[in-house]
């Protein structure tokens, strides 16, 4: 595609400019994706190089090191102990003992079962004495997968610690060769509140994140490649096992099941995904512009009681969302207050189908979401609006710009520039906005065609509420939920990457500064 210079671009008419920008955006996508693969390739190459360097370094340490260093390769911390760093040496040794003990007692078993996820399911045996069938539970696929992953984490931690141990010997030899003294245990402890203070501070948060976020996510990603569901719970009824890419094939296949009115998974997924994107778009931008409008109205010169207006709106943030959302949802019900009011005024004959008709329901959720979102946006935009240099407006007024022109030429570009990253996170946040949809409609009204594929799917269901329904539904198809979760991640990641790279506040950081 032809690239215009700035001067040529300015000569274009408005429509041409828009077209040009859209085209250049579209043309940029392949190169962005190419860049992504390039980055990936560089990452792999870098990792390979790093491994090669490390191996060489370890080898050299071994060859050139003294006997203390050499023995440390087998007995971790030996070098430290032999050179008088008792605290470090003991910690290394303790870690090695714990690791070996764990691997012999448990880790080896979990690891060996990981490829099969368990061999013997629960068995029933006839018990003569009690004259009943007694079930014996054997392997536990769930635990095998969980502890298998944990064991792998542990092994990685061990390899890393071993490498640190080797490096320390190398360093110690160097330091001693120059005639300096090594750090004592006391120095080490002191450095934990000084040079190494960040390690102390991060230890607690990172442990939490690894155990409660990283481990579960790795586990759930792996579940997508198994048949873990309500009838294969891995212990009480049937074991579950690896099924390869079958679940992805199911989710992305266009062939519908048997029976009239059934729909393929891919079509259902596509339908829900497109509503999710539409919803995220409207939820983000209606809130953004209306919130900005309210903020500008309150900020306007000559408006009194600014604090009162703001407080009224902010107060609604304080009330827990589930109360307001559930209550508002009932207000719009067939026998709710809104219909009751409209009918008593004689404006309508019959109750309006706020939650019964697909289109009505979708529009109603978006409108109620405005009610939820405006106070936040009002707060956020108020602060930014006040930061816009006032002389910009003054010179615009002298040049004879009217209010609308000032808005489109100064306020809006400034706001979009500053809040670009916020808009992106708010868009992806809305894609996963479980509370608003689930508490307002629970996904209703039901979409019969889509429901034929997986569980009850409604017209207002987002991918995230669908995922929840799959998990808690009668069949508990965890593997399917996991596939949906991975696809949500992919969609969110792609949108974030593409938009983030196109954001002007990232590209031209100097504008407006």
């Amino acid at each position: 595609m032809k690239q215009y210079t700035d001067l040529e671009y300015l000569k274009l008419s408005k429509g041409q400019r828009l077209l040009y920008r859209i085209l250049s955006f579209l043309c940029a996508i392949p190169s962005k994706i190419g860049g992504l693969f390039g980055a990936l390739w560089r990452l792999i190459k870098g990792a390979g190089q790093a491994v090669a360097n490390e191996t060489r370094d370890i080898w050299l340490t071994f060859v050139n090191g003294d006997w203390k260093t050499k023995l440390s390769f087998l007995v971790m911390g030996f070098g430290n102990l032999a050179r008088g760093q008792i605290l470090r040496g003991l910690l290394f040794l303790l870690f090695e003992v714990v690791f070996i003990g764990y691997m012999i007692l448990a880790g080896g078993y979990w690891l060996s079962m990981l490829p099969s996820l368990g061999k013997v399911g629960p068995t029933e045996e006839y018990n003569m004495i009690f004259d009943t069938y007694v079930t014996t539970y054997n392997d536990n696929s769930f635990k095998i997968l969980l502890y298998g992953v944990l064991t792998i984490f542990f092994i990685i931690a061990f390899i890393y610690t071993w490498r640190v141990n080797v490096k320390q010997n190398q360093m110690a030899e160097k330091i001693l060769a120059t005639g300096k003294k090594l750090k004592s245990g006391k120095d080490d402890l002191r450095s934990l509140v000084d040079d190494q203070f960040h390690k102390t501070l991060l230890s607690l948060p990172l442990t939490g994140i690894i155990i409660f976020t990283v481990l579960p996510i790795v586990f759930m990603v792996l579940v997508a490649f198994t048949n873990y569901d309500g009838t294969h719970d891995g212990y009480y009824n049937n074991l579950f096992t690896w099924v390869g890419l079958d679940n992805f094939n199911t989710m992305l296949s266009w062939t519908a099941g048997t029976g009239s009115g059934t729909q393929s998974y891919a079509a259902t997924f596509g339908e829900i995904l497109s509503w999710t994107l539409i919803w995220a778009f409207f939820a983000t931008f209606t809130n953004y512009f209306l919130g900005m409008f309210v903020a500008m109205a309150i900020n306007k010169k000559g408006i009194n009681l600014k604090k009162l207006w703001r407080t009224i709106l902010v107060m609604t943030i304080a009330i827990p969302q589930f109360i307001s959302l559930l209550y508002v949802s009932k207000m719009f019900a067939k026998n709710g207050i809104v219909n009751g009011f409209l009918m008593s005024m004689g404006w309508i004959e019959q109750a309006l189908p706020f939650w019964e008709d697909p289109t009505w329901a979708r529009i109603t959720v978006i409108i109620i979401n405005i009610w939820i979102g405006i106070p936040y946006l009002m707060l956020i935009t108020t602060g930014i609006l006040m930061n816009i240099p006032q002389d910009l407006y003054e010179s615009a007024r002298i040049d004879g710009a009217n209010a609308w022109q000032q808005y489109t030429k100064i306020t809006l570009p400034y706001m979009l520039f500053v809040t670009g990253p916020y808009l992106l996170t708010s868009f992806t946040g809305n894609m996963n906005n479980f509370n608003v949809i689930y508490l307002l409609t629970g996904g209703a009204p039901t979409n019969p065609a889509a429901s034929s594929a997986a569980g009850t799917v409604g017209y207002t269901d987002l991918l995230i509420t669908w995922l929840f329904k799959i998990t808690t539904g009668a069949e508990s198809q965890y593997y399917l939920a996991s596939v949906v979760g991975i696809l949500v991640f992919v969609v969110v990641a792609v949108i974030s990457l593409v938009v983030y790279n196109l954001l002007p506040s990232i590209k031209n950081e100097e504008d407006f500064q």
């Binding site: 155990i211 579960p216 759930m220 407080t311 827990p320 509370n435 990641a493």
Partner: protein, 290 residues
Amino acid sequence: MSEMQNSRRHMGLKASRTLANTAIYAFLIAISIIWLIPFVCIFLQSFRVESTHQVGYVIPQQWGFDNYINLFQTDFPRWYMNTFIAALVTAVFQTIIVLCMSYTLSRFRFKMRKPLMRLMLILGMFPGMLTMIILYRVLKDLGMTQANSVPGLILVYVASSGMGYYVSKGFFDTIPKSLDEAARVDGATRFQVLKKIILPLSKPIVIYTILTAFMAPWGDFVFARYIAFGASAGKNVAVGLYDWLNKDQISKCYTMFCAGGVLVAIPVTVLFMCLQKYYVEGVTGGAVKG
């Protein structure tokens, strides 16, 4: 002549400005009413005595405290305590964790800093709800589900709270680094810098973090529902009140739901309004830094 024209134009401008301001006042009054109506309705209906189901009018025909009295015949006090304890403990620990995380990422430059931040950004793109399947089973093995759900809930809320470091990191970034450096030159350790210099300056962000951490458990619905798993003693207010609006319960419990909602909303709202200033600072600061 020109003076006349000028003053007439002036009058015109003034008139149009008054008109615009009147329109804005009308708009502001209208949205204030729209924003307050649901809360006024919920408040009024909690005093309705003549019927317990949904009706198409707002002002009760018979007033009374029956709904509030009935609340104490149900498990509501238990739910309330569950939520309150969870919120209190979460607020304390989450604040410690978030501040550790954000302070470190703002002040220290170490090798793993950038990869760590990127990793957390990527982890944040996974729908967190997915992990509740495994967390539920693990917590169940530990005996922290159903009736004993509170410790389990606290664990889940607190453990991964380090991921939400953005707002407070933005705050710490605004404290000049020269303060730290001066103290370091005078021989203070990193820990002393944090204790003696940073913490006294961080009151707004500490209060903001406590406030948001305290408010979140009152509104949590998904995890709480999954972990309580139908056991009434383990529900929090959100789950308990949600279940009252089921198809088969709503005709009996609708006004009680309103009363419960009022009881939940009042303390949280009062606390929020008292600390509103800090909340506003946090929200506006957080958005600009992205």
